[in-house]
Symmetry: C2
Subunit: 213 residues, 2 copies
DNA sequence: CGAATTTCATACCACGCAGTATATAAGAGT
DNA sequence: ACTCTTATATACTGCGTGGTATGAAATTCG
């Protein structure tokens, strides 16, 4: 057994594991994974080469393979990190008091990600659209991730309907998919070079049109 | 000079060019290009390999290179064909009598493409999102194509505003980008396995919410 | 110190990629 | 029939890819 795929905790990471035999690791896996995430985010899974990844992570290929397994495992861990850190606004947004509040939180959260220093577009969307050739396992993981988010939004919107946030003729599930469609479209536009002002206008337009409260 | 990149007219195509010296071509370039388009459409530019392309087109590599130049030129011609044939509904939709009619035409046209026999998703969107590494020229071409469509929709919606299709506080350009965002989101969802019924619901929801006539 | 163990650095491997050299086949003009 | 021209078929090239073998460096335990 060469590496433990579930354990990325580093010697020089936050809380140093007590004892360790052999030469200690000379890089911080968390920082390396963050760098890898950025590369995958910009280039997509297939577009990111191992050479590019190792250079951005500041480590050599054997170190990468020893620590993270292979390219697919690395991407998987980067994806986990992505949804844990970058998609916090999704979990936070679900707690907004009304359906329109949820929509606004999502739209503004997504907008903030586009205008920050991170790469443009959503990693999940990029990967879902781009990846056709390679292992189905990654597609499946992204799909199940998306399904889980969809379900959460649908349930939140069903509650919103019960609380009277929507006009009576509106289907919560349909509104959930409608909202995600706009968020995905926003990703595509950000990826194709739309300015923050244009995306801001898209958010404002969506909210102005939004039915209910 | 080995081939003329602007001339794909075939000997065995529709109207046979009168005289021809040398061995005649044993395939129909139009049909081959259609097959290539399908591959690019499914796999994206980088995802499509020359081996896959030649097999789908039913020709060998030298024939491909002699007739179409190289991979990039082939993609460019496939893209032209795509927008000429598959995006006819965009040009047709612009002639609808009201802004909402335009939106409905676009949404239903896009929906029809997703439910047909063609590959899922929009070639332009897929290419715009997926392609990060290779020649900027393709990105530029796709971008300029998108900009032209955007401008056409914006102008159409400005006319619509003058004709009173929108409530007074609505910005036509914003509505144009809003509509394209939904269409792009629809592409993403179709690409990630959404059913026709779900997409249909997305169309209905968008139209139900649409402001004005 | 010395043995065991783990990481790091360099070089390497097999493979698939876009693109091509070469030789042969199939027509048209004379 | 013979030449000229163009397309086809096969085989190949150089390169970048993901992944790895091997030996040296750095640490802990005895």
């Amino acid at each position: 057994m060469k590496f433990d795929p579930d354990t990325i905790v580093a010697p020089n990471s936050s809380h140093q594991g007590s004892s360790h035999r052999g030469r200690p690791r000379q890089f911080c896996p968390d920082a390396a994974l963050t760098a890898a995430l950025k590369v995958f985010w910009e280039r997509g899974y297939e577009g990111a080469s191992m050479a590019e990844l190792t250079e951005a992570m500041g480590i050599t290929k054997p170190s990468l393979y020893a620590c993270f397994g292979n390219k697919e495992a690395l991407f998987r861990k980067a994806l986990d990190l992505y949804e844990k850190e970058k998609l916090a606004y999704v979990r936070a947004g679900l707690t907004a008091p009304t359906a329109k509040g949820v929509a606004e939180a999502f739209l503004r959260g997504s907008l903030a990600m586009q205008t920050g220093n991170d790469p443009r577009g959503c990693l999940s969307v990029v990967s879902a659209v781009a990846c056709t050739n390679y292992a189905d396992s990654i597609r499946d993981e992204i799909t199940s991730l998306r399904l889980a988010t969809d379900r959460a939004i649908i349930e939140r919107f069903e509650r919103a309907r019960d609380e009277g946030d929507f006009p009576p003729d509106v289907d919560p599930a349909a509104m959930a998919h409608y909202l995600t469609a706009i968020l995905q479209g926003m990703t595509v536009q950000a990826r194709s070079g739309a300015t923050p002002a244009e995306l801001e206008r898209l958010v404002a337009t969506t909210l102005a049109i939004w039915p209910g409260r």
